[in-house]
């Protein structure tokens, strides 16, 4: 049992806490994801240990509609180690929502839901089809890769500058999911995100500041990091890095 009591005992005994895999503990949708279906549930995996039957979970997950600032009515359900937020009404198309996983949701002197620290926090998601770029890093071939907030049917025209120098002969190549996602289980209706890697005549180094125009949209400003692509996606999931 992954238990604080055992951690406390382990602390006294001088042992380390148990380790988690990225698939064991993450949130979905990803931070900044767009195109979220109207009926998609918000998932906190690994956020729950058992609490007594018929005992209320409390406000572990709170959702705010960023258009009107009001709380979204819904239920927090617990299934195994998962917490799910099911909104009473479908997500409204074209809106952005902020959702918060709260660590202090239990009452004092009562059963506790020890939410792992990596899952605690606030992020946003949207239901519109507007594209957003969520991050950039180098892949194994030292290409700059961009995480798009939802899958694109057509790439369209892309213009990139690196440190204000135009990047020549830009073409984008989609990185297949199987190549970088370490098996996150998710809602079948979830369109997820997409990763595009930049093939260009101009090399792009880690630390470079990219400005990206994608068709009519942009520019986005991104700093190229030097971490594996899958780690960047895990971060957007608030997952535990391997």
């Amino acid at each position: 049992m992954r238990s604080r009591s055992l951690w406390f005992a382990a602390f006294l005994a001088g042992c380390d806490e148990p380790t988690l895999n990225p698939q064991d503990s993450f949130v979905s949708p990803l931070a900044g994801q767009t195109g979220v279906p109207s009926d998609m549930e918000l998932l906190v995996r690994g956020g729950a240990v058992e609490i007594p039957p018929d005992y209320a979970v409390g406000d572990v997950i709170r959702v705010v509609d960023l258009q009107d600032g009001g709380f979204v009515a819904g239920q927090v359900l617990m299934e195994g180690w998962d917490l799910r937020f099911v909104a009473e009404e479908p997500w409204v198309d074209g809106r952005r929502y902020a959702w918060t996983v709260d660590p202090a949701s239990h009452v004092p002197h009562g059963p506790e839901l020890p939410i792992p620290a990596n899952l605690v926090g606030t992020s946003a998601f949207g239901t519109s089809e507007a594209i957003d770029l969520l991050g950039s890093t180098l892949d194994d071939d030292q290409r700059a890769c961009l995480v798009a907030s939802h899958p694109l049917e057509e790439v369209g025209e892309v213009r990139i500058t690196a440190n204000d120098v135009e990047v020549e002969d830009v073409t984008l190549e989609e990185l297949r999911e199987i190549e970088w996602v370490p098996g996150f289980a998710r809602d079948p209706s979830d369109p997820y995100v997409q990763v595009w890697c930049v093939n260009s005549a101009t090399p792009i180094a880690a630390g470079a500041v990219l400005r990206v125009w994608w068709g009519e949209q942009g520019p986005w400003s991104l700093t190229v990091r030097e971490i594996p692509v899958e780690d960047l996606v895990i971060e957007l999931h608030r997952g535990v890095l391997p």
């Binding site: 049992m1 238990s3 604080r4 009591s5 055992l6 406390f8 005992a9 240990v49 058992e50 609490i51 007594p52 005992y55 209320a56 979970v57 409390g58 406000d59 202090a104 949701s105 239990h106 009452v107 004092p108 002197h109 009562g110 059963p111 506790e112 839901l113 020890p114």
Partner: protein, 315 residues
């Protein structure tokens, strides 16, 4: 208890305000500082003695009707030292109702323990059941705690101390109460047994010291922060100081592991307003919880303490 104490406050200043009043008694002549004819001055000089030819001073004992000696117990008689972890183990038959109120920002749990105890010179047994009102995310609710059964055997005087061993059992018997106060096993559903040793030392008439050690195995509903099973060892020391015939102070320090409140300091005032009745009030201060050294999810800080009250009757 507070109303009772307030009503008894004037009486507490007297030595014995109730015990000797009997409507059948003769009116009682208050003693005077002045010597009377019947009461020769003890240190009178021979010159002050009555002449031999005068009638001798009467013997008042023979002329006064015999006063009935009222059968009474003094306040505190039959009561034994008891703390919050240290149990009463001397010959002691009676009943008790106790109240714990966790007060402060992380408080809100109240527990009432009703218990009865029987013992003779060698053996003792106790049974108790707590019930509680506590907070849940859906609001307040009430439930029953774990049934408690204690048994004691007096080893007798060993060295300078009166020693006793016991077995303390608890088991869930009703709908679970998902909360706890200072004693982790009173309310949260579970079962277990502790072997207990206690020793009483009385350095003087006003002071009693009790030492306690315990070791036990427990099972509980294994939802955070409780483990499904655990071993507990603990120790406690209590000092009971009598201030007057009716009033005393009790201080206790206790440590135990595994426990949600591993180290506590307890201070109690005890009052014996009537023979056989003892009221206590005070606070249990969960020091390690304040320091954040607790297996529950509570940040360090003085966020709670437990007010305790109880009233016991010794038969």
């Amino acid at each position: 208890v507070i109303v009772l104490l307030l009503s008894l406050a004037p009486a507490l200043a007297q030595d014995d305000p109730w015990g000797t009043i009997d409507p059948d008694d003769e009116p009682w002549d208050a003693p005077s500082d002045e010597p009377t004819a019947e009461e020769p001055v003890p240190d009178a000089t021979p010159a002050a003695e009555a002449p031999a030819d005068e009638p001798e001073a009467e013997e008042p004992e023979e002329e006064q009707p015999a006063r009935r000696a009222p059968v009474e117990r003094s306040p505190g008689e039959g009561q034994v030292p008891e703390g919050w972890r240290v149990a009463p183990f001397a010959p002691h038959t009676g009943a008790k109702v106790g109240q714990e109120l966790v007060v402060g920002g992380t408080g809100g749990t109240n527990a009432t323990l009703v218990s009865a105890r029987w013992s003779n010179e060698q053996l003792g047994f106790a049974v108790g059941v707590p019930f509680t009102a506590y907070r849940t995310p859906d609001g307040r609710t009430t439930d029953l705690g774990n049934l408690q059964l204690d048994g004691w055997y007096r080893l007798g005087q060993m060295g300078s101390m009166e020693q006793t061993v016991g077995l303390e059992l608890h088991a869930r018997v009703a709908e679970p109460a998902w909360t706890w106060t200072n004693r982790a096993d009173d309310l949260w559903p579970g079962y277990g047994a502790d072997v207990v040793w206690q020793a009483l030392s009385t350095p003087n008439d006003q002071t009693s010291i009790v030492y306690r050690a315990s070791l036990g195995a427990h099972g509980a509903q294994g939802y955070e922060p409780y483990p499904a099973s655990y071993v507990r060892f603990g120790g406690a020391a209590l000092i009971d100081r009598t201030l007057s015939s009716r009033v005393g102070l009790v201080g206790e320090a206790s440590f135990s592991y595994w426990d949600l409140s591993p180290f506590e300091l307890t201070g109690l005032v005890r009052v014996d307003p009537l023979p056989g009745i003892r009221a206590r009030a005070g606070f249990v201060m969960p020091a390690f919880v304040w320091f954040g050294w607790s297996p529950s999810d509570q940040a360090p800080g003085l966020r709670e303490t437990t007010a305790v009250l109880d009233l016991s009757v010794v038969l």
